[in-house]
Assembly symmetry: none
Homo-oligomer: 192 residues x 4
């Protein structure tokens, strides 16, 4: 529903997702994306105004999908269950995208549209978590939301960079993270 796009639009977006994700924005070439999509170079410009706009479209699609999944994860759950579910989702989401690491690091610099969009996404993500925390009575919900997301981001990095990380490790890490966030590290101090 909404916009009518042809097959080529999807093909280009998918190809861009792969190429940008593999090489990052600056090292990706439009010609390679076009080839990967099975269209001519000029065709890319029929659907996207510029390389930057194509990057933004890729990013937007990915982020929106991400937020939608997160939203679902929070309905009808206790704080502990919600955090666990979010942690799990966060890590699994990126685990599936191991091959697209660069999409999250190597982004173009100067484009104001993208900066604006990313700011918005981060805000939306933070708000999602913040509202959940607030509704469960956690004080300083914004601060706690940011801290939670940050924790997950760093743990995600491990998954992206560490080739030995297996899918079953993901859930274990998620559980540890949710627990830490709930009870702090002292819960894990050895009695001496």
């Amino acid at each position: 529903m909404g916009e009518m796009h042809g097959d080529k639009y999807e093909a280009i977006l998918n190809a861009a997702y792969t190429v940008f994700g593999t090489k990052g924005f600056y090292e990706s070439k439009i010609s390679e994306i076009a080839e990967q999509a099975g269209v001519a170079k000029g065709t890319v410009y029929l659907y996207f105004k510029s390389k930057e706009q194509l990057f933004i479209a890729v990013t937007r699609r990915d982020c929106e999908q991400y937020l939608a999944e997160m939203q679902d994860a929070l309905v009808n759950r206790t704080l502990g269950e919600g955090l666990l579910r979010m942690a799990s989702l966060h890590l699994h989401y990126y685990y599936k995208r191991k091959q697209h690491t660069k999409l999250f690091f190597m982004t173009p610099n100067s484009d104001p549209d993208l900066i604006e969009f990313m700011r918005g996404f981060i805000q939306d993500y933070t708000d999602l978590v913040k509202n959940k925390l607030a509704s469960e009575g956690v004080l300083q919900p914004e601060f706690h939301a940011k801290a939670f997301i940050g924790m997950m981001e760093r743990l995600k990095m491990d998954i992206l960079l560490n080739q030995d990380f297996r899918e079953c490790d993901v859930d274990q890490t998620a559980a540890l993270a949710a627990n830490l966030f709930m009870h702090g590290c002292e819960a894990g101090v050895q009695k001496s």
Copy 2:
């Protein structure tokens, strides 16, 4: 101590720090760095083999300074004090570098030297925290170290991106973070 380099070496490194930090690797031009440093373009290549190597040199200097400060922060402190001090240092460090944001995001992709160095830096930083946690009896110290650093990274982002953030807010955030990490978010749940 240290290598003997002339004034120009320092000038170029400082200029590169500023320019790379402001625009990121790909959008920075050697000619601009040279101009900023007050030397000719060719002079840059007397001191650094390539744009990539210059970037690495800038990054290395910054990271080493960072680790040195962190190391000092941990000696002779309890777990709580150490975490608080680290949180504070982490945030203050980047607060001072508000203008050099891009140095931490926009890095060249393909250079193996840089990838290797960054991996090493992250490892060293993690180990620093991990060892402190382990010596205080925290279980799963590696996991907790990563989570702590992640938390700080995300909070740092706020500082970098939010122009309204004042220096006094930094300490407050650091305190909240250390406390959260020690006792979990439930410590802040309102009685209802």
Copy 3:
């Protein structure tokens, strides 16, 4: 027939032939060749991978044309007639190329493709003459082939460098050369 190349391909090749021939490889600029060909700089790189490859293409075209003409010159002729015809062709060929001297002297150094090609060309040329000599019963045909070609090369130099050399002198020189090669210089010693 052969490969299908557009007009631009030919135009660039012709321009490169002129510019390389006039200034030599190292003193020629791609920008000048492009301008001479009436195309943009970038267009050159659509058809040729590098300056070296462009040079090789120019050289190859010229050498192949040369060998083809030589081959024709040898069919159904006696030794004396064949040598005379070859000498004539050799000298006329370069006489027509007076303006492209540098193509034969100033070649890039390091390119292995070119070195290989030139070795092959010299070999082919030598074999052509050698086979003719052998079929006419001349002993040591390879040595004699090299000597003959060398003689012609030096005489060619005269033509290239001496601006006063007229076309009619060419035939005279060719006849002298063929005769010398057949009978030696003593045939021309004055009785005393």
Copy 4:
């Protein structure tokens, strides 16, 4: 006798001879020559006005030495002996310089001084041979001189390019060449 030059002058000239000879003019760097000579880059410019002038000085020294040896080879000899001696000298001279091939091929293009000098050298060399031929009664001595030199040049190429060529092959080739030049190739036609 004549000019007073220090040790450094000689050292630079020798280094330039080696480097130019190995890599050709355009691929040689002044810095490498200076290093090879054991002096600083700037010192080269105390003795030679430019890279071109240094190349000319190297070439001149080599050519003068060559002509001097040739001159000696011709005194008090018959035509046949003289030609044989010259052929032998020509080939041996370059055999000894196998490692300096590039000096004879890759020369700078545009320098008028060098062009003038080379023209002069070729003239002197030709005259040397021409006078010998004339004094022995050979008709058209200039033409014959050029043909002889050309023959030798081509045979020299073989020596320079063919790594398997042994020193003893040199004399054999020289004898064949002198004989061919004296009596023509028909002297070697098989009776049938």
